[in-house]
């Protein structure tokens, strides 16, 4: 039996990522089961070479429009580490706030726009405007909240312009932070409504489990996002300087994106990995949501990455409130608009490591004396998850292969989407091709 579903094609050009699932079953025997990916940001690394340290973060911001602030901050960290540039506590808090905003909007986007249609049995989000209008309004309002957070701090919700090596070109005004604080404090009902909706639909998530290695950052004082050391659920803490030994990138024949492995033949990054490694540091309201869904670390069902994202939405909201209150209590140290920190470029090498919506992100640059990039390496979360998606599929398919073809397809697509592969960076569409016998 052979069946091909082609969902490719867009008139308006986009940065195309392309992912395909190929399953080949012959007389009940699984012969081929591949997660095929075509795309990686390799070319951005090449484009960085020869550019000034003042523009590296603007270039890498364009790797992805959904996590542009993430790439910007990782890039700035790498540049600052290479040149020994320090960042003030105030600016570190503001960067954290910008990243929280982006992660909030990204999680809500994934839950509401990508995962929710799966759970209610729709092909896209459009029918939800008819069937779940109130819930959709909630999703869009929370997404807007994340954007507002990022925009107040960085000047734009996408491709931030105020972030620069050593700090910010312009700071938000305190009255903007106060408005934002009110907005955040008034958004808890929306988070509760999103949790209520997912609670009703959570039974639709397949009960599949496969233990793997979970890798994230960790920090002794907080649920790590912008600072910390690498943590593996298998071996514990690992210095950020050893990130290449963690993300042992390798090439497989069926993908132009690199795969990664560490202690086992694959590992997982993202919200569920962060939850598994750092759950005890969640804000109380986030921990309450985890309890409501029975999420108790370690969790080995990759489909529950969706629920871990919901838990993080609550955590990010709570932490954003705490950060803004701290900034307002201390008062913003003034600086002029279009401020440019004085930096004397020096030759050096630096690494940026942060947690972004889809997992831990590494940027490493080498600079020459003129402050121009001589070498760049970016390891994105989605590429680190490819191997784990592949191993999940190999374990899952034999257990569901007797199901109707459409059900197999749907379950596998949901698996891939549970990892929230970066729409812009890595996988844009899913083509599922059955080249063998499926029930």
């Amino acid at each position: 039996m052979s069946h091909t579903i082609d969902v490719d094609g867009d008139l308006v050009t986009r940065v195309e990522g392309h992912g395909s699932i190929v399953v080949n079953v012959d007389e009940g025997e699984l012969e081929t089961c591949e997660w095929q990916v075509v795309e990686s940001p390799r070319y951005f690394e090449s484009m960085l070479v020869g550019r000034s340290f003042r523009e590296s973060h603007h270039v890498t911001s364009r790797i992805c429009a959904i996590c542009s602030v993430s790439h910007t901050i990782a890039s700035l960290q790498a540049t600052e580490a290479a040149m020994g540039v320090s960042v003030s506590e105030q600016d570190r808090r503001l960067r954290k706030l910008a990243l929280y905003g982006e992660t909030l909007q990204s999680h809500v986007l994934h839950l509401g726009y990508l995962a929710l249609p799966d759970l209610v049995g729709e092909k896209s989000v459009l029918p939800l405007a008819e069937t779940h209008p109130d819930e959709l309004e909630t999703v869009i309002d929370l997404h807007r909240l994340g954007n507002e957070l990022t925009e107040v701090v960085t000047g734009r919700s996408v491709h931030a312009q105020r972030l620069l090596p050593g700090g910010f070109s312009q700071l938000p005004e305190e009255r903007e932070l106060e408005t934002l604080l009110d907005r955040l404090l008034n958004s808890w009902d929306a988070v509760a409504e999103l949790a209520d909706l997912l609670a009703v639909l959570a039974d639709e998530l397949p009960a599949f489990e496969r233990e793997t290695e979970y890798i994230s950052l960790t920090h002794p004082e907080e649920y790590a996002f912008t600072e910390g050391t690498i943590y593996s659920s298998d071996v514990g803490e690992i210095p950020v300087s050893d990130y290449r030994d963690v993300a042992n990138e390798y090439v497989v024949e069926h993908s132009t994106a690199k795969f990664a492995r560490h202690e086992r033949d694959s590992y997982m990054v993202g919200a569920l990995a962060r939850f598994n490694n750092n759950a005890e540091q969640l804000a109380p309201r986030a921990a309450d949501i985890a309890d409501r869904f029975g999420l108790d670390a370690p969790v080995h069902n990759p489909y529950l990455n969706n629920v871990a994202q919901l838990v993080e939405v609550a955590h990010l909201l709570a932490e954003s409130v705490r950060l803004i209150e701290a900034l307002l209590a201390d008062g913003l140290a003034p600086q002029s608009n279009y401020h440019v920190p004085e930096i004397d470029p020096t030759a050096g090498r630096g690494i940026g490591a942060i947690e972004v919506p889809r997992g831990v992100l590494f940027h490493e640059y080498a600079y020459d004396d003129a402050g121009e990039v001589t070498e760049a390496n970016c390891v994105i979360p989605t590429n680190q998850n490819h191997g784990n998606i592949q191993r999940d599929m190999e374990t899952l398919v034999p257990t569901i292969v007797e199901q109707p073809e459409d059900d197999v397809k749907h379950t596998l697509e949901m698996l891939v989407r549970a990892y929230d592969p970066c729409i812009s960076c890595s996988t844009h569409y899913l083509d599922v091709e059955f080249v063998g016998e499926v029930a």
Binding site: D10, L11, V15, M47, A65, K123, H143, H159, H428
Partner: protein, 150 residues
């Protein structure tokens, strides 16, 4: 003066001609368009939903493969693009789906136009192709005229 219209650039400047949208918006920032916000949304993000809900009229500018000659400019209403409608149904971020979603949630109807420029190259790299770079002045005029007509 509060803006009631928006020009939205979609596209990636590091994918050659896909950067035509941001390039055109950069050219327009200093023009006299007092009730128009110029926004660069990069790759088609979910923000389109908010933009469609927030403005009375939105002009999207992007590289569009409509089968024309490289650099050729076309203005169209997304509601007329039946081919795209037929290709929907994935979970990809389809800008037209986002427009429809935002329009459905807006309190009043939003007028949408797309100013599309036929690309020659959309591979990795910065800088527009010669054919598309030459089309910048004409595309800029078309974009300005389109937003003023709404």
């Amino acid at each position: 003066m509060t803006a009631d219209r928006a020009i939205v650039a979609l596209g990636n400047p590091y994918r050659r001609d896909d950067g035509i949208g941001p390039a055109l918006v950069d050219r327009l920032r200093d023009r006299e368009l007092p009730t128009v916000d110029c926004l660069d949304l990069g790759d088609a993000g979910f923000d389109l939903v908010h933009v469609v809900a927030d403005y009375a009229a939105v002009v999207i500018v992007d590289a569009v493969d409509f089968g024309g000659d490289p650099g050729e400019v076309a203005v169209f209403d997304p509601a007329d693009t039946t081919e795209i409608t037929e290709r929907r149904g994935t979970h990809a971020t389809d800008p037209f789906e986002l427009i429809e979603l935002g329009g459905g949630l807006a309190e009043t109807a939003t007028t949408i136009r797309v100013v599309g420029v036929q690309p020659a190259e959309t591979g990795y790299g910065d800088g527009l192709s010669p054919a598309v770079a030459q089309a910048l002045p004409e595309a800029s005029k078309t974009l300005t005229a389109t937003v003023r007509s709404l």
